[in-house]
Amino acid sequence: MSMLRLAPNARHRVELNVNGAARCGFAEPRLLLCDFLRHELQAYGVHVGCEHGVCGACTILWNGEPVRSCLLFAVQANGAELKTVEGIAPNATELHPLQEKFWELHGLQCGFCTPGILLTAEALLKEIPNPSEEEVREWLSGNLCRCTGYQNIVTAIQEAAKTLSERRT
């Protein structure tokens, strides 16, 4: 087997699964995954903030785990299964309980950080279905929000956890 070598300044085919659908696009080796998702696959819910892994706005789920898409290259994502904020609602007319609670409880103002926070929170609730305030804050430490002061985000996540566990019973 020979080693994969992708030339600079050339576009290479990338095939992956985004929000349950098989997708493909083209990327130069240096194209960041966040930019690929936005500009090649029109997933504009992927927000690009600091571009060096500090703010968390570009957080997506990679095989179910929250990761920073500004620190990954599109060519690395060949074969990966990704989820962006576009994929968290069950259908086109219903919202995910997290989205409902963020709306209801003022968990966002400008909304720039929200996609990254929703995906982090979704992964959190899968791992810890009823997180304590401290656990929510610990998970959120990788996402910056300059509007809300976090209080309402924490409350919204905990309320969404309640809705989800009520649905399960």
Partner: protein
């Protein structure tokens, strides 16, 4: 910002990786999790001609016991290391430090080898490796060599790794079953670079005296440092000794100054951190001794 244009190489074996690295040397950057290389590329602090992605090399993320040491493969992801019961048992200091490394989102990709190869002065994993007196395994096309952690970290982002060498594994000494551990750091936000960090590993004898002690500071000098503590062996493991050790430690280091903290503040934090980690490590050691008896 966006990275410069580069060629992307994805070797399947260590041999292939070492081959490309041997050809490209300083022009190549090795990509594992990308959690530190990513920012360096995006900010164009690094402008490599070739990026060598080692994450698809099979077997490079394994954990295995080699006599008195546990070897963790270079691409072992931090989140997976944290989930490993074996590492928690054999290298408790690492398990205590990992929750301080970056954020959930970065620990899901960031690797042990990447952190060690990058050698940020405030990074937690290199500090644990220095305190535990571990080693780094390097491989070039021609040979493999081991470098003691205490000789590997030379300065900020500077290590003993030669341009044609790949970090392939980290070797951790297995902790004695009665050794107590503690880790703590202070940063502006949890998960940010530590302004100062302290790690401690200690053993207590039957009469409550210090039988073995390793203490280290991160983020204070331009590399993780192990404080020379042999003079305190045989002393009572108590508050007075802790205070003396903290004083001795801050006098033995030369603290960095940067936009976040001046040297005096770093030393004040170091003193405080040692006063916090030592009693906790002593308590842990006592508990472990009780359980063993």
């Amino acid at each position: 910002m966006k990275p410069v244009a580069f060629e992307y190489c994805r070797p399947e074996t260590v041999f292939e990786a070492a081959g490309v690295l041997g050809q490209c040397r300083e022009d190549a950057a090795v990509l594992a999790g990308g959690m530190t290389l990513g920012p360096m590329l995006n900010l164009r602090i690094m402008r490599p001609r070739v990026v060598i992605d080692v994450t698809r090399i099979r077997g490079l993320d394994l954990i295995d016991v080699r006599g008195d040491a546990v070897a963790t493969g270079a691409t072992l992801v931090q989140a997976d290391a944290f989930r490993s019961d074996m590492l928690r048992r054999e290298v408790p200091l690492l398990a205590l430090a990992l929750p301080w490394v970056g954020h959930f989102q970065t620990r899901n990709r960031g690797t042990l080898g990447g952190s060690v190869a990058h050698a940020d002065p405030s990074a937690e994993i290199p500090l644990c490796l220095v305190v535990g007196d571990g080693a780094v395994v390097l491989r070039s096309k021609r040979r493999e060599r081991r470098v003691r952690a205490r000789e590997f970290f030379l300065g900020a982002l500077t290590t003993a790794r030669r341009p044609d060498e790949l970090v392939v594994a980290i070797e951790w000494q297995r902790a004695a079953p009665d050794a107590g551990h503690a880790f703590e750091e202070i940063a502006q936000r949890h998960g940010d670079f530590a302004i100062a960090a302290a790690a401690c590993q200690i053993r207590i004898d039957d009469s409550g005296r210090i039988a073995a002690l390793a203490l280290g500071l991160g983020g204070v000098e331009n590399r993780p440092v192990a404080v020379e503590t042999s003079g305190f062996l045989g002393r009572a493991a108590d508050e007075d000794t802790t205070a003396e050790i903290a004083e001795h430690a801050v006098q033995s280091v030369v603290a960095m100054e940067d936009h976040v903290a001046d040297a005096r503040f770093r030393l004040a934090l170091s003193r405080e951190l040692i006063r916090r980690v030592m009693p906790r490590a002593i308590g842990d050691a006592r508990l472990r001794r009780e359980r063993l008896q």
